[in-house]
Point group: C2
């Protein structure tokens, strides 16, 4: 059997191109023995591209992206001091637009403390959970507005929109993931005592879907309490399902607890496969260290592994993960900092 | 000079009465040498009271509460398994109703890692910051609703409402607090790249008010990044100003980082003094350990110190804080767990 995998690559801004180069290196290495033909098409998008062209995500580019099997994404965003780029413009008009247009309703963010990786926690224990963050609704929908801007009577609103359709599909996905894991435990995180309407929709949906998964245990935690548990007993979590904003917050915290967002991978998944899914490190473009070979490409490489898993190459994905694990375990003995490409080389070499 | 301080005491549910008893013990001790007459009036409110009477916060009770100089509050909320109490009802109809009705626009939550207190972080450093959480707006306003509930077409919304009036007064308060602290640093936490309208109101307001406080340095951090910094370098923070929901999340995390919410105090402040302010531990009613003298009254006692500061007795507040600090420093040597009342006794005895 010989398969073709047709990927779109969006390196983006800042450290994006550097970490994506390593992810591509490892992708190639992991697929060469699998008799898979990789087709890679690079797209220039992001803040630098916007400064040159005024384009965020043209319709034709979006249409072209739709034709690929999957998208590998680096990071976007200008330097914070660069006042030429309106703040948040690229994030909203390009990154979030892709997530919404391609219906990435499952934003999957695994959190695992790999052996040998230092955690800021004194006694982290065994940490291995996944956050299933809803990706197409909640406070991210861009609903809201402002009146009498700049006056003492200004009022600004933000509307979180939650639908039965949107909540049910992500909750079902989270239960299915929990059912396939050894501990089979799902935790809904919300703030239903204050956000009553959205909270009740989420809770009712979890109760209803739970009936389809009798083997999965489930509980509930308020988002504020969840941040406490993430630093006092992160090993209690198996699968967390939560909304777009709470998921954003919890996964950065989870990334920090498991050794830093330089290691945190994510997949923006369209589980109905009506459009390509997109894989990206949780970290941003880090303009302060861009172009210096200082970035850790591990998160991008692990995102590439999630990509391979999603396109039907789980064995190749496992081989990347094993190589990353071996590299991480060896880091404690290193005395000098390695360049981005050196880390990529070491991991590529480790792919057996 | 002899002053009278007329306090309302709301012990509430669960461990509330136990921790409030100790806070009152320490309050009395700290004021007896100050020639201050304490008048204490207890109000029965909370889940147990609702089960008996069906009342959450009757108009007459609210009117009576308004006549006091300040309110000391324990905790409210039924056991999670108690299905007789609709979830979130007491929190919204009583606790949040008080915060809104009494215009508690500054929800002040100091976070300090006291000497001798263990942190879940391996290397916390010196942690001493305050979170100034907005208390009367944001996603807590109860705006929003649901359509077609229980059907596949259900849609539930939550609206965050932010006004120039509401944002400006809390931002000004936060700058004033920063100006009075040695480091004079303020950090605005929001998510303006996604929550554009509210985010821009907050940012513009911080820029405008900053002009009035040239001695205060200020920066900005997204809420997701703030959770990372809270576990990797919490000592970077001095004053954080943020909205109601982000403040809720960050202060639980900050409490965990500084030794647990059993130590975290808060004040719901009406800084215009048009109504009494309310002081409460950040922790909840902890029904699982209620009535067993297992709760740590320290957060309630430190909340009482914030109360004394607010009603014009800073020296008495300092004496309580010093007694708490001494007690915390001595804990490492203790071999047996102390009862709630024993901790209260030790701290009261330490008030010089
Ligand atoms: C860049 C930003 C819009 C994005 C988000 O909030 O989702 C990022 O923080 C993330 O978590 O992927
Ligand atoms: C009980 C709840 C409504 C409350 C809040 O969300 O403000 C609590 O979590 C707090 O932080 O005081």
């Amino acid at each position: 059997m010989s398969a073709t995998i047709d990927l779109a690559i969006i390196p983006g801004d800042g450290i994006g191109p550097e970490v994506i180069a390593e992810a591509v290196k490892v992708l190639k290495r992991a697929t060469e023995d699998e008799d898979v033909r990789l087709i890679l098409t690079e797209y220039r998008l992001g803040a630098a591209h916007w400064l040159e062209t005024g384009e965020t995500l043209p319709d034709e580019t979006l249409a072209a992206l739709r034709r690929h099997d999957a998208i590998l994404f680096g990071a976007v965003g200008a330097a914070p001091g660069d006042t030429r780029v309106p703040s948040g413009l690229i994030e909203r008009e390009m990154l979030l637009k892709l997530r919404f247009a391609l219906d990435h309703f499952v934003n999957l963010r695994p959190s695992r403390l790999f052996p040998g990786v230092p955690s800021p926690l004194a006694a982290p224990g065994e940490v291995d959970f996944v956050v299933v963050r809803e990706g197409t609704e909640g406070p991210y929908v861009g609903n809201g507005g402002a009146l009498r801007v700049g006056t003492v009577h200004e009022i600004a609103t933000e509307v979180s929109v939650n639908t039965a359709h949107g909540v049910e599909r992500v909750v079902r996905d989270a239960f299915a993931r929990a059912a396939a894991r050894p501990r089979r435990k799902l935790t809904l995180v919300h703030k239903h005592n204050v956000l009553v309407h959205a909270g009740h929709l989420w809770r009712r949906t979890v109760e209803a879907v739970a009936a389809e998964f009798p083997g999965v245990e489930h509980d509930y935690m308020h988002v504020d309490a969840a941040t406490i548990h993430l630093v006092t007993d992160p090993s209690r979590f198996d699968v967390i399902v939560t909304d777009n904003l709470f998921g954003d917050i919890l996964t950065d915290l989870a990334g920090a607890v498991t050794g830093g967002i330089g290691l945190a991978a994510s997949g923006n998944l369209n589980m109905d496969r009506t459009a390509p899914s997109m894989f990206e490190p949780v970290h941003g473009s880090a303009p302060d260290i861009a172009g210096q070979q200082k970035a850790d490409p591990t998160a991008a490489i692990l995102s590439a592994a999630l990509l391979l898993e999603h396109v039907g190459l789980p064995a190749a994905a496992r081989r990347i993960e094993a190589a990353v694990e071996a590299d991480l375990a060896s880091r404690a003995e290193l005395t000098d900092a390695r360049a981005t490409a050196e880390i990529g080389d070491a991991i590529a070499l480790g792919v057996s």
